[in-house]
């Protein structure tokens, strides 16, 4: 128990926690959107994020961008990488939906079956990057940790005495919040968003009102995938690494965050993600980094015991979300 260190560096730890939590929150949106509409845990979503990080690496490699590149190239590479990550993640999510979920949806299979196909899909995706692509294209694919060039140097932007906040932390948190506000507005204010909410509320009635269910479901997977793509570019900018199985732990945490905030609730994903990130960083200071996963799950169990629908409650379907 290291309280003095926690209190002493509270600002620093909070900043780290929020950065971590912002990534969780973005990935959590994918779980929450799909759950809100289909009542289904998309366990393959973690791999959607993983594919995004590889897309970033791919763009950097093709453009030859490294830390020493000129300003123009850095901006171009970052913008293209972000785009590539979003496209790659969204299309992965879409493919998973088409291959693994749609045939089962037509048969109205129980949720357990979706879970198994999701596990199968995530295994396939992981192995594509961990083994299959290595056989055909060689490194950097494979089971080793791959470093991604860091184009923008980390520097301190805000110096508040004991707390110094870096540009990366600001980019990650601001980027995540902006994306989330955009998504929230999209779901609440646009015609397509209204379709999403309608299907979440009552699929049959929505269909009677002329909402194309299949299109809405595809849209939901694309939106969730795009958010995971944004998470991927922010993650690679901040941590400069990727790996074939990088998605697993982040996926588990993001799902925990989604449940914590209230699954199916977009704002809940933000609250849950940020809270989980901060709790993890605090607890790893208090105890040791070995225990941070335990605290994450203990917090989840405690919250569910006293508030079984998460902090903000489930409500993609209700007017509030």
């Amino acid at each position: 128990m290291d309280f003095s260190s926690l209190i002493d560096q509270i600002g620093e730890h909070t900043a780290n926690g929020l950065t971590k939590g912002a990534i969780y929150a973005l990935v959590a949106l994918g779980y929450t959107l799909v759950y809100g509409v289909l009542r289904l845990i998309n366990f393959a979503h973690s791999e959607v994020f993983m594919v995004g990080t590889w897309a970033v690496l791919g763009v950097y490699t093709v453009l030859g961008a490294t830390g020493g590149s000129g300003v123009g190239l850095v901006i171009l590479a970052t913008a293209l990488a972000a785009l590539a990550a979003v496209v790659a993640s969204a299309s992965t999510a879409l493919i998973v939906e088409r291959v693994a979920y749609r045939p089962l949806r037509k048969k109205n299979a129980p949720p357990l079956i979706f879970l198994i196909t999701a596990i199968g899909c995530s295994l396939v995706l992981v192995e594509l990057f961990g083994h299959v692509f290595r056989v055909f294209f060689g490194p950097p694919f494979g089971r080793a940790l791959v470093s991604i060039p860091s184009l923008i140097d980390t520097e301190v932007w805000l110096d508040l005495g004991k707390t110094s906040i870096t540009n990366m932390q600001i980019i990650v948190v601001v980027g995540a919040v902006v994306m989330m506000v955009a998504l929230d507005t999209f779901v609440n204010k646009t015609r397509l968003g209204r379709g999403v909410r309608a299907v979440a509320q009552d699929p049959d009635t929505a269909a009677l009102m002329g909402v194309n269910q299949d299109r809405v479901i595809m849209l939901v997977f694309i939106l969730g995938g795009a958010m995971a793509g944004v998470a991927a570019i922010l993650y690679t900018m901040n941590y400069d690494i990727t790996k074939f199985d990088i998605g697993f732990l982040i996926g588990v945490k993001a799902f925990t965050a989604a449940v914590l905030g209230g699954i199916g609730n977009l704002r809940g994903a933000l609250v849950g993600g940020l809270l989980l990130g901060v709790v993890e960083v605090y607890s790893s200071t208090l105890f040791s980094s070995n225990w941070e996963d335990v605290t994450a799950f203990v917090v989840l169990i405690l919250v569910l015991m006293f508030r079984p629908t998460g902090i903000l409650g489930e409500s993609l379907g209700k007017a509030r979300a």
């Binding site: 759950y35 009542r39 845990i41 291959v99 693994a100 045939p103 089962l104 037509k106 048969k107 109205n108 299979a109 129980p110 949720p111 357990l112 079956i113 879970l115 198994i116 196909t117 596990i119 199968g120 899909c121 995530s122 295994l123 396939v124 992981v126 192995e127 594509l128 961990g130 083994h131 299959v132 049959d204 269909a207 009677l208 588990v252 799902f255 925990t256 449940v259 699954i263 040791s288 070995n290 225990w291 996963d293 335990v294 994450a296 799950f297 203990v298 989840l300 169990i301 569910l304 015991m305 079984p308």
Partner: protein, 393 residues
């Protein structure tokens, strides 16, 4: 789709054969067969299971896994298959019969393995502190026979502790909470070095007692692995018998009612929470027994042997085989353990192939390979409902 979608119940229940007589499948014939016909078949099957380690007649011997240079010892593979079959029988109670999605089953498996390791090994931190506290000699440890009830007790307690607060949650939440539980167990095993030996694990796990054989070795040793396999097989048959009795009892019928419609079951007076807790505890117990067998044969346990992926594998066994049907779960466990060993020469392609197979089997046959009758019919109903809904729209 044939006629089952048209809505008539009999068409779903038993497709009519020639002359309007009910068409009897192999399984019906078997179930209706007289005991004098069944008994020899069952006996033959059982003895064939016991004979398997020595299978040497071509072409049947091709199923052995130790043919190539990279192959693994056939008896060890058989042993592992049976251990996972015990796991599958246990998890089938939780998932298949009671309909509770448990993604942390590996936690109970680990608990069983670690109970026999911590109390049975004379060099584990727990026994050393017991030795010091009570002044026992250095080689002292809890005897193997006493470790089994210990493991069962731990698993039951853990099952109840985990189940009591979480079984009131809805299904999806239960999945994530149990998943968290599985991870918590592994992390505690890894981090609480003073109690569990930490990342290095525990060595010197005791073996079951037995007569010394002709060569002066223990009965259960590292060379005569087929004896381990036989032991596991006997345990499996015993547990299968017990679970089968449970399935056909009041408890089993309650599970079924809860799985199909919890609210309706409650109205009929079934104490849903109590029976769900029972399913959880019984599942936990079977998982722990499998863990005990595994740890004892291995002689060593370490926290990394109990990762979350193993939990997913266990769930896949039950669902691929056909959840709710014990034979299906056994078959699933067999396939998922045996195929990777038999196709060891495919090396790193195996997980990829496993993923593809998982998706393919589930998309083509959502009810599992050997489905539970009742469950399959539920699925047919759901499918018919979906088609009707599609027509309505």
């Amino acid at each position: 789709m044939s006629d089952s979608g048209k809505g008539s119940d009999t068409a779903v229940a038993s497709p009519k054969g020639l002359l309007g007589l009910p068409h009897l499948g192999l399984r019906d014939k078997w179930e209706r067969g007289p005991i004098w016909m069944k008994l020899p078949v069952v006996l033959a099957l059982v003895s064939f299971c016991f004979y398997l380690p020595f299978l040497n007649i071509l072409p049947f011997a091709q199923v052995r896994t130790d043919l190539s240079a990279a192959g693994t010892d056939w008896s060890s593979v058989l042993f592992l298959i049976v251990v996972y079959m015990i796991v599958a029988v246990g998890l089938n109670v939780v998932i298949g019969l009671a309909g509770l999605l448990d993604l942390g089953y590996v936690g109970f498996y680990a608990l069983g393995a670690y109970s026999v390791a911590l109390f049975g090994s004379s060099s584990s931190p727990v026994t050393i502190s017991l030795q010091e506290k009570f002044g026992f000699s250095e080689g002292w440890a809890v005897p193997f026979a006493a470790c089994i009830p210990l493991a069962i007790a731990f698993a039951l307690v853990a099952g109840v502790i985990l189940g009591a607060p979480t079984l009131r949650l809805r299904g999806d939440y239960l999945a994530i909470v149990t998943m968290g539980f599985g991870e918590i167990i592994r992390i505690i095993l890894r981090n609480a070095t003073d109690i569990t030996g930490g990342p290095k694990g525990v060595i010197g796990i005791p073996k079951p007692p037995g007569p010394v054989d002709a060569d002066g070795r223990d009965f259960f040793n590292g060379l005569d692995v087929h004896r381990w396999y036989w032991l596991a097989l006997i345990v499996l048959f015993l547990l299968m018998f017990l679970v089968r009795r449970l399935e056909n009892s009041r408890v089993g019928r309650s599970w079924l009612a809860i799985r199909e419609d919890e609210d309706a079951a409650r109205i009929m007076g079934v104490n849903a929470f109590k029976f769900k807790l029972w399913a959880f505890a019984i599942g936990a117990m079977l998982g722990a027994i499998a863990g005990v067998l595994f740890a004892s044969k291995q002689g060593v346990v370490e926290p990394n042997g109990f990762k979350l992926n193993l939990s997913f594998l266990f769930v896949a066994m039950v669902v691929i085989g056909g959840s709710g049907n014990m034979m299906g779960a056994l078959f699933g466990a067999f396939l998922i353990t045996y195929l990777p060993e038999r196709f060891r020469f495919l090396d790193q392609w195996r997980p990829f192939g496993f993923g593809v197979a998982l998706v393919a089997v589930m998309v083509l046959r959502p009810q599992g390979l050997i489905p539970n009758r009742r469950r399959a019919r539920e699925l047919e109903d759901r499918k018919a409902e979906a088609e009707e809904a599609a027509v309505d729209v």
